[in-house]
């Protein structure tokens, strides 16, 4: 392997990994306050994709506007999900809320099938995302760079929000001990809505990047990214935001490097290799990489 090839794949890996990390962190923020995995999180990716598709492909509205609308839409649907599926069940057990999140996932997918179209659709992606940037003999796709910049910027802003603002601090406190957070005056409903808003925003940003990457939409398109986000949380350590980021990045590395360096006959089994690696990680650190036992 040449050093150039390695470096190109390294950027691709960080790029895809940071996209997984965005989705994983969103899942982790909601897990923090509710201690439940929101399986409808992946469908926010679909919500973003379909809003973008309707506006851009059907409505001829400029692509950047469609992206922003998609992200806003995902944020709104996320907040709504909490109101409809989780708030009435606040005193219910973990399992009940989990099932409720599956229900929301199924509802979103079927609404898309009924109201828009059950078949996958292609999305025309503006050429700016499809350029090859060459520096000497070094070549890298513009999408990898754009994904990397946007994901890292989003995470830097998230970090600022969590570490430097009053609401961010309250969100961290509520994730550690929800009851004591209430005792010091953090309003339960508002902080949970906030968690879903931030989570939805991240899913929207990640979703837009995902749609651009895959170039198409389908009602069940959220399944693959949600599984990546979920696995990212598990390897990083469920409940740890840093862990979610680390887990997402690791998955990106596995995906890219296995695809690049496995013999071509083995490439259809990249997922199997990735999950085997996950099993090995969890064998040695069952609590996840970033959590203490």
């Amino acid at each position: 392997m040449t050093a150039e090839l390695f470096f190109q794949q390294l950027i691709n890996a960080i790029s895809l990994g940071s996209l997984y990390a965005l989705l994983a962190v969103g899942l982790a923020i909601v897990y923090g306050v509710l201690k439940v995995l929101n399986f409808a999180h992946g469908d926010l990716v679909a919500v973003t994709g379909y809003i973008m598709w309707l506006l851009w492909m059907k409505g001829e509205i400029p692509f950047p506007v469609a992206i922003v609308a998609g992200i806003v839409g995902a944020t709104g649907v996320s907040i709504l999900t909490e109101l409809v599926a989780f708030r009435p069940l606040r005193k219910a057990t973990y399992a009940v809320m989990l099932i409720s999140s599956f229900a929301i996932s199924i509802i979103i997918q079927n609404l898309i099938r009924l109201l828009i179209d059950p078949r996958p659709q292609g999305m025309r992606i503006p050429p700016v995302f499809d350029k090859v940037i060459s520096i000497g003999s070094f070549r890298i796709g513009s999408l990898a760079i754009i994904t990397l910049v946007i994901s890292l910027t989003a995470m830097a802003l998230l970090l600022y929000f969590l570490l430097r603002t009053r609401w961010g601090m309250a969100l961290r406190a509520a994730a550690v001990d929800f009851e004591v957070a209430r005792l010091v005056g953090v309003p339960a409903n508002r902080i949970i809505s906030l968690a879903f808003a931030v989570s939805g925003l991240l899913a929207g940003i990640g979703g837009a990047l995902w749609v651009i990457r895959t170039g198409g939409i389908a009602p069940t398109m959220g399944l693959y990214p949600i599984i990546k986000a979920f696995v990212g949380n598990v390897i990083g350590g469920l409940g740890s935001l840093v862990g979610a980021v680390v887990g997402g990045l690791i998955l990106g590395f596995f995906d890219i490097f296995l695809k690049a360096f496995l013999p071509s006959g083995a490439r259809p089994f990249v997922e199997a290799f990735t999950l085997t690696a996950v099993v090995i990680i969890l064998y040695f650190r069952p609590q996840g990489i970033m959590l203490k036992r």
């Binding site: 961290r172 406190a173 209430r182 005792l183 010091v184 005056g185 953090v186």
Partner: protein, 236 residues
């Protein structure tokens, strides 16, 4: 100042509290004593708004407060130091303190309170940038009390502040509570550590199996110390 009237409460089909009557007057330390499972923490949960009673009511400064949300009860001037300290892990000491003043939005007021807290608890100033969970047990207890004080309450509820602390540290906590009373704070102190609590309290209640069994001034109860311990506080 605080009046708990005929409170009955429970989880599921079982009642944990039966017809509880309790009063705390301005400026006193009232001890609520009882063994594990007597229902003391449940009562604190009701007063601070985390739990709802089945019957009865809670009155603070002549106003009915049961059924209000925890943040509204805190705004009225009741703060709670939870059992086992429950410091926010992953937040620094200073952030833990800032969380205590969450309901206060004016920055300069928060800074003033922080300065006052650091003056009273120099060890917290020395550790202000450390993560809360890295503090020792005694320091964490001070932090938990300081966090509650950051909302500038008029009534402080404490749930077993001496638990898990070495005797000399228990003494520090009790001296602190005495100082706070001198500064005008009213305190409801839930304790299993009957001797230490009666040493600083003005009055006390003894709870067993969800009922108030004995009440009286601290000096009366101190004289009956051994009897109370054997009857109501024995470890099962």
């Amino acid at each position: 100042m605080l009046e708990v009237k005929t409170i009955t409460a429970g989880y599921g089909s079982a009642n944990v509290l039966h017809d509880i009557q309790l009063r705390v007057d301005t400026g006193e330390i009232v001890a609520l004593l009882g063994a594990n499972g007597a229902g003391k923490s449940t009562l604190l949960g009701i007063i601070s708004g985390l739990l709802q009673p089945r019957h009865g009511s809670v009155w603070f400064e002549e106003q009915k407060i049961d059924g209000e949300r925890p943040e509204d009860i805190l705004k009225r001037g009741i703060a709670c130091v939870p059992e086992r300290r429950r410091i926010f892990a992953g937040l620094t000491v200073q952030e833990n303190l800032r969380m205590g003043a969450y309901i206060e939005r004016r920055k300069e007021v928060i800074e003033e309170r922080l300065a006052a807290i650091y003056k009273r608890f120099p060890v917290l100033l020395a550790r202000s940038r450390q993560m809360g969970e890295t503090l020792s047990g005694g320091e964490q207890q001070q932090l938990a009390i300081a966090r509650a004080l950051m909302s500038q309450p008029r009534l402080l509820l404490l749930d077993e502040p001496s638990i898990g602390l070495a005797p000399n540290l228990v003494q520090i906590v009790m001296d602190l509570l005495r100082d706070l009373r001198e500064d005008g704070l009213t305190i409801l102190l839930v304790e299993q550590n009957i001797h230490e609590a009666l040493e600083i309290a003005n009055r006390a209640y003894v709870m067993a199996s969800g009922k108030i069994e004995v009440e009286g001034t601290a000096s009366e109860l101190r004289e009956r110390g051994l009897e109370l311990e054997q009857t109501y506080l024995g470890e099962i």
